[in-house]
């Protein structure tokens, strides 16, 4: 069982000419393996600062991040070992893969660097990972990113993230650039992998609908503070905080829209 603890984390940026900006203000939460937490909030609410601190691209001004009770290593081999435990999937599958390299190269690289499997098994492992994300190794392995669709590319990015056998996955808007019709497929894939590998997933998004369906718990962030944290259905269906209500009211909701327009119509 892996436990990631974010304890009283505050992050202050010094903005030239504008004084100090509090990006995170006393943020605490716990992410366990096998659990998905949805992190929602509008642009500038601090969602990505949390991801940056988790990957140690930024350091908290105060507070601590603990993995199984130990602080995140600051540098060197130990930091690399930590990052092997926690991988990211980014928003833009067009930008996160290198156009010059084949799909094989993208997935081989973390395998080589982290030495997860012996050298002679790398090729087999690449194929296994591609199958894991429901891509046919034979047809995609020698292709380059531009020859694949957005959904396929995001699957490659997921396979790459899984290569080092992480225990935690930070997915920053992993489906928002994909077509509506394939978003569910990718989310379902993430949900399957999460269940089968017992991954802890931090799902960062501003889409309340997918956050609700994909997460166990939801954290609502506003101006760097957690304003609401609870089971997904409670937070979205029975929001307590005014900001959460505002976010909910702003999200497209055809069910409510048509129900209020015509009492006879609607699905309920």
């Amino acid at each position: 069982m892996t436990v990631l603890d974010f304890t009283h984390v505050t992050k202050i940026y010094n903005v030239r000419g504008a004084g100090q900006m509090k990006a995170l203000d006393d943020v605490s939460f716990t992410l366990r393996s096998g659990q998905t937490i949805g992190l929602v909030g509008q642009s500038g609410s601090g969602k990505s600062t949390i991801a940056k601190i988790l990957t140690q691209l930024e350091r908290p001004t105060s507070g601590e991040v603990l993995l199984d009770g130990a602080p995140i290593p600051r540098r060197g081999r130990a930091l690399r070992a930590y990052r092997q435990q926690l991988r990211m999937v980014f928003q833009d599958p067009f930008a996160s893969l290198n156009p010059y390299h084949s799909i094989r190269y993208h997935i081989e690289r973390p395998l080589r660097l982290d030495g997860v499997v012996p050298r002679e098994q790398i090729e087999a492992e690449v194929r296994r990972l591609l199958e894991r994300v429901r891509l046919e190794p034979r047809t995609v392995i020698d292709r380059r990113p531009h020859e694949l669709s957005g959904g396929q590319r995001q699957r490659v990015a997921i396979a790459r993230a899984l290569a080092s056998r992480p225990r935690l996955l930070v997915a920053d808007e992993p489906v928002s650039m994909l077509d509506v019709s394939i978003r569910l497929g990718v989310l379902n894939l993430l949900a399957d992998l999460q269940r089968e590998e017992g991954l802890g997933v931090l799902y960062i998004t501003h889409d309340l609908a997918t956050a609700r369906h994909f997460s166990d718990e939801i954290i609502v962030l506003n101006q760097g503070r957690i304003v609401e944290h609870g089971p997904a259905d409670d937070v979205i269906l029975r929001p307590q905080d005014p900001y959460t209500r505002e976010l909910r009211a702003a999200s497209p909701d055809p069910e409510k829209h048509f129900a209020s327009q015509s009492p006879a119509g609607g699905l309920r």
Binding site: T36, Q42, S43, V180, S181, R183, L187, H213, I236
Partner: protein
């Protein structure tokens, strides 16, 4: 009682590559004055090609292979868009039909203040206007879209994404066109900003009476903002009806698939199997 603004007849566009791709196939559509028409479908279904094609904004290898587009001007004149010569076309665009482009946040010139970019529209299309009038118009436009006239000297990077999008809408509104084509205008914005922009589009539509062709693959959003929705697939319109009918009684199988492919904010759980 309703009055047509744009009549599209048997309109077809082919991308002349090898092998040729029929991107829009015999589309017939009538857009009403003052209506918001949603154009939905997956990437590659032809929705953007159709919307660009009716204004002859397509570049090679796209070729309009058939059909007609008639614009029923407020003056009563019927304009056959395919028959306009380049100069007539230049004057027609933006004056009668304007656009808010996909990724509009990055469509502004980064090295010119937004006021100057708004004034450009008048300089080109209203050559009789004085500099003072142009400035006054630009200020009024910024007030209309609630960016505020005091931002007239701001550069794009000094504005938030939502504000930049409003400037783009102001620019599209400048000549009081009768039709605005919006291609994914809110896709890059977060929900709160998106909601504000949508509210503003609806409100401006009521105030100025223009029609909107709203292109997006975000069906939940389209259902809320559109009067009617056209569902496109493989270059064809497979269903066209009021938003309410599309939601309550979709008749086409593909429409039903699209509707079931997004998770509902308040609906049943279980679309993501966990």
């Amino acid at each position: 009682m309703s009055e047509a603004l744009l009549s599209i007849q048997d309109f077809s566009v082919v991308y002349d590559v090898d092998p040729p791709v029929a991107a829009v196939k015999n589309v017939t559509l009538e857009l009403q004055r003052g209506e918001i028409l949603g154009l939905a479908g997956e990437s590659g279904c032809g929705k953007t090609t159709l919307a660009y094609g009716v204004q002859r904004l397509l570049k090679a290898p796209a070729v309009i292979t058939g059909g007609s587009v008639t614009f029923h001007d407020a003056t009563g004149e019927n304009i056959d868009i395919n028959a306009l010569d380049p100069e007539q076309m230049r004057r027609f665009r933006w004056d009668k039909v304007s656009m808010v482009f996909q990724g509009a946040m990055n469509a502004l010139n980064p090295v010119a203040p937004i006021g100057a970019q708004l004034e450009d529209v008048f300089e080109v299309h209203r050559p009789g206007m004085s500099a003072r009038q142009r400035r006054a118009e630009a200020k009024e436009l910024l007030e209309i879209v609630k960016v505020g006239a005091q931002r007239i000297r701001s550069f794009p990077h000094e504005l938030s994404g939502g504000m930049r999008q409003r400037v783009m809408i102001a620019m599209a509104l400048a000549l009081r066109p009768q039709l605005m084509v919006m291609d994914e205008p809110t896709t890059a914005l977060d929900v709160l900003v998106q909601r504000e922009i949508l509210r503003q589009i609806s409100q401006l539509r009521h105030e100025f009476g223009f029609s909107v062709i709203f292109i997006t693959h975000d069906l939940p959003l389209l259902l809320e903002i559109s009067d009617r929705i056209a569902i496109m697939r493989d270059g064809e319109i497979v269903e066209l009806d009021t938003a309410e009918q599309i939601w309550n009684n979709p008749t086409n199988e593909y429409t039903r698939t699209l509707l079931s492919s997004f998770p509902r904010l308040t609906g049943e759980r279980g679309v993501v199997v966990r």
